[in-house]
Symmetry: C2
Subunit: 459 residues, 2 copies
């Protein structure tokens, strides 16, 4: 949507100090687009543009800038400008910014902030990353249970500009305990004299402040909520998490899941691909490349143990890539299906045996197909002159087909079981990436393959 061709023109207008024109230009575009247009400018120019707007729009555009740009601007900005910007910012975004600032800069800024705002930053930054507390904002609308509907609407009108959402309001007791929930929709539909406590919903879906952020965002999705209240162990209300933050978390977790599955380690990068440095790309990938390299060498050592078998029947080498492909493929498939079901809460670790039984049947069918195709391919399409004397093509085809079938079943079961075990012992269920799974089941496959050959062909 953003026309980046405009960036040089904005620079030009800034140089010419055509502020009125700039102001008019920016007044017509969305905050997100404004942020994308000014982000390539040097911080001093970004400050000039930001100062053209009223405090709310300024704070909103600033929030859409990437975190490292925000940090650069706060660290190098004039104290007056910085404070003007921090006060109207969304409280959750502000707390997040403080967590990214250098400690001495954050500490200095905190002393400048009004005491109430300081307390808010300190409170919101005190929760561990990844918890509902770290994600929530304290900008929610609280009503008193003794309020009438008219008083409630009046109160909302008064405090609306500073709040993250006014569409969901929460009824608190005098001690701040969450008693009920009323939507603005309900409020405008109710006669003004009614008491809020008469129309509020009391079966409230809420998240605990130390809950995992993913479980809080799952509730938002599950119950189609606009926001979810966050409470402490005494059910005192501390904040809300809104649906847009939930969507961001879902995207982030999705990227993380995919990266884990595909053998990319480390935290998810916020920056776009082309902006990430080569060293970061390298570091995120090299870990698994080395680990899987060692696994590959290990598999090679297992093959070396069967050197005699291999040398006397070189045809076995020609079907090792097939064995490998079948294992990696079926293992990845079952792991994906089980992982996804665990993530969507459709499966519990106690369903272990049910999963095992189902995967056994599915993989037996797959094994039958692939084993049969392989048997026929070896039996019918191999030139018998290639076979060392003393072996029949039938028995060799049987060995390869059978080993392949066992490999499919073993890989499928292994792929399905690992995520469940990981969930049970409370580690990340995506403990093995797809390539890691392929490499690991391949080790088992090689043992199965050569053991079959030794047992049946008596090599």
């Amino acid at each position: 949507m953003v026309n980046t061709l405009l960036v040089p023109e904005i620079r030009d207008l800034l140089r010419k100090k055509s502020y009125t024109f700039l102001k008019e230009f920016f007044s017509e575009i969305h905050e997100k687009e404004a942020a994308e247009l000014i982000v390539p400018l040097p911080p001093s120019d970004i400050w000039k543009v930001l100062n053209l707007f009223d405090e709310h729009r300024r704070a909103e555009i600033f929030t859409y800038l990437e975190m490292d740009v925000q940090v650069k601007m706060i660290s190098g900005g004039l104290k007056r400008h910085v404070l003007d910007l921090l006060t109207p910012m969304s409280k959750d975004d502000r707390a997040d910014l403080f967590l990214h600032l250098e400690k001495n800069i954050a500490d200095k800024l905190l002393t400048y902030l009004p005491s109430r705002e300081r307390a808010d930053v300190l409170h919101l930054t005190s929760y561990e990353e990844g918890t509902a507390g770290a994600l929530m904002t304290s900008d929610f609308v609280a009503l008193n249970e003794k309020d009438t509907v008219a008083q409630a609407i009046k109160r909302i009108r008064k405090i609306a500009p500073g709040k993250e959402t006014v569409y969901y309001t929460y009824v608190l007791s005098d001690e701040g305990v969450l008693m009920g929930f009323v939507s603005l929709r309900k409020l405008i539909l109710t006669p003004p004299r009614k008491l809020v406590s008469d129309i509020m919903k009391t079966d409230i879906i809420y998240a605990g402040v130390t809950d995992d952020q993913e479980s809080a965002t799952n509730l938002i999705n599950r119950y189609d909520l606009l926001a979810i209240p966050v409470v402490n162990s005494e059910r005192k209300m501390l904040g809300i998490i809104t649906y847009d933050d939930a969507i961001d978390i879902m995207r982030e977790e999705q990227t993380e899941d995919m990266e884990r599955l595909m053998a990319i380690s480390g935290p998810v990068e916020e920056k776009p691909y082309l902006d990430i440095s080569i060293m970061t790309h390298f570091k995120k990938r090299v870990v698994w490349v080395i680990i899987l390299g060692f696994f590959g060498i290990l598999t090679g050592m297992i093959i070396q143990g069967y050197q005699k078998t291999l040398e006397s029947l070189i045809i076995l080498a020609f079907y090792m890539p097939l064995l490998n492909a079948a294992g990696g493929n079926t293992g990845s498939q079952s792991a994906t299906v089980v992982l996804r079901s665990l993530a969507l809460n459709q499966l519990q670790p106690q369903d272990f045996l049910k999963v095992l039984r189902k995967e056994f049947v599915v993989s037996s069918l797959l094994a039958l197909c692939l084993g049969l195709i392989t048997f026929l391919r070896v039996h019918l399409l191999t030139n018998p002159s290639q076979i060392a004397p003393g072996f029949t093509l039938l028995s060799i085809a049987f060995v390869i087909g059978l080993a392949l079938a066992i490999q499919v079943v073993w890989s499928t079961l292994f792929g399905a079981i690992i995520p469940i075990i990981a969930t049970r012992i409370r580690i990340d269920p995506a403990v093995f990436s797809s390539p890691a799974l392929a490499t690991i089941v391949d080790m088992g496959g090689v043992v199965i393959y050569f053991t079959m050959a030794k047992l049946i062909l008596h090599i």
Copy 2:
């Protein structure tokens, strides 16, 4: 959250016709939970429970039931009950249900519906699946540009119960053209006599009715919207897509992306893992198992072409699993990174060369690491007596290390390029799953490996 132990008790209460008690019990729980409690019951019992509630709650609980249960209930329900249910349903959910009904049942029901409702169903079901039109609902609040704020709020109060959201309202011209947007927040903050057209936002983010559903939901996420208006080519407003549908679409696309990447074909199943039949599981997996089986056989045939080389230097067989692991791993990594960036619109197909350059440097670093480790491992840890006479360990270690390095670079570039090419020619960028990629780069790897050996070792 749902205690499934309650299901037998509900059955019991239904048998005893304790409707008052049941009604009270259900009045205290969320619609989603109510749906989960009644879904195991036979359709006739579900009808009994549903008929305890007022029409809006009944329709909402019904909507939370799984699609096949909804279809079963509509197909077998009493005409009177069915019509009472269909009228208050959300228009997008209702259209979706009609798309799942058998044609003769859907046609019969349509004739019973009031003509306005019938037209709505026919309209909403006329858009191709996967478009914004198929996802939208026509339940939005439309204001007239000549309305005052007081008139607008009055209008919202009147029509609120039937609307998907009242928090975003849209200002239309007499011809139905989308002129502007006003939030309820803005309306309650504005003096009642002001004209809606004076306070509406005119720089509206909207989606075209034939746009891809993913691009519409991306806009909701990008601009943190509660809903996005859907317009036709003349900018006439046809409906809205709300954030909760956008979240569902995101989840679905996420599952689909993951399944594609992990070699699972066919449409994404709505049902939980344990409820999907074994044949469905089998069908979704067998396609790639067979295809990759053929690729595996092909790779074996390539190895067979180098039979002499392999027989004279059996140590080469011991490092093939490493070659395979390295190729599959690095190819999957680069494919994931590029795929994800394309999906998040961080990369365009025209960035082709930039991606290629970056991946070349990253993969060269990875190749250096892995090649060096392998060279040292072969050179220092191989028993020289194992080597056939006429070869030096140094040259063999060099060949294996070099082939591995080239394999890493080739696999990385292949993994990165394929999704970009696919996007350019407008097919699904996840055209190769991770196991498929591993199997395909392995074919190239085998050629590289044995060609190096032949060239350098003169076998």
